[in-house]
Symmetry: C2
Subunit: 161 residues, 2 copies
């Protein structure tokens, strides 16, 4: 039996149909705030310092807007179309802040298949209250060959407390 949780499988250009959709969910934890600050270099205290954020217009720590963008890119790269996808374009409109412990639901929908394996995909991110957080569109080159591969396991990452 294949453990589907540990397999990355794609959907080829030929298999994709307009209207097809796929979802991915993820919760914003303190670890994501620290890791995204480290990997992007955006160390604004509104993302990192609870006391500072309490005095800000957001009243509490918020996620980096582009973290939501990175979840969209992960959904494209791992779910639909999945491995072998080449990212051409992405536009994003940030509609609402993401708070600590919010769960984001990313929904991708195939809007249009274009020549030369191009696919236009709508990208919608809602929080657990159903509020739209980010909306946008992606253009990708969908894979033409079926790929199924074991999900690499990441080395352990430790954040000092």
């Amino acid at each position: 039996m294949t453990d589907t949780l540990n397999v990355l499988e794609n959907i080829t250009y030929n298999e994709l149909k307009e209207g097809d959709s796929a979802t991915l969910s993820r919760t914003l934890t303190q670890d994501e705030l620290v890791l995204f600050a480290a990997v992007s270099g955006d160390v604004n205290p509104v993302h990192l310092d609870a006391a500072f954020a309490a005095e800000s217009m957001f009243k509490e720590r918020i996620g980096h807007g582009m973290w939501s963008g990175s979840l969209i890119s992960a959904a494209l790269a791992t779910v639909m179309p999945g491995p072998g996808t080449i990212y051409l374009e992405q536009n994003l409109a940030f509609k609402r802040p993401v708070k600590l412990d919010d769960t984001l639901n990313i929904t991708l929908t195939v809007l249009r298949k274009e020549p030369r394996n191009r696919v236009l995909i709508s990208c919608n991110v809602h929080n657990q209250r159903g509020e739209q957080v980010v909306v946008g569109e992606a253009k990708v080159i969908a894979p033409t060959e079926r790929v199924s591969l074991l999900k690499p396991s990441l080395p352990e990452i430790t954040i000092a407390s």
Copy 2:
């Protein structure tokens, strides 16, 4: 004497002028590949597995496209306009892969000041060979009040080898 490396200072809407530009540089290391995979969930082996990547069309491990996007967002949030900026929109076109040890130079240029503190900013990312990697535009609400604050230091992050 203020250590400017440890201070985040912004540029207000009133201070910004069309044509103003700012830059930020960053090098893609193996750590970024692992951390971005962890924080986004995009664990595609083309970013993580040297042997797999060698057999791919890219011939070696490449950075996540949205990592370049995250550098743009960090430049907007920490350099120009800096702290207090509210991110409204971003579009990105991914032009070339980023290889391990590539140094990316992010250049932001004010394209247009709009009513209600909106600013349209062009975003250009080149590698150390001067090749365009990512190009796009951001729309932000620029801060109206001067902010100068100490850069929070991140907790130590350890990646098991």
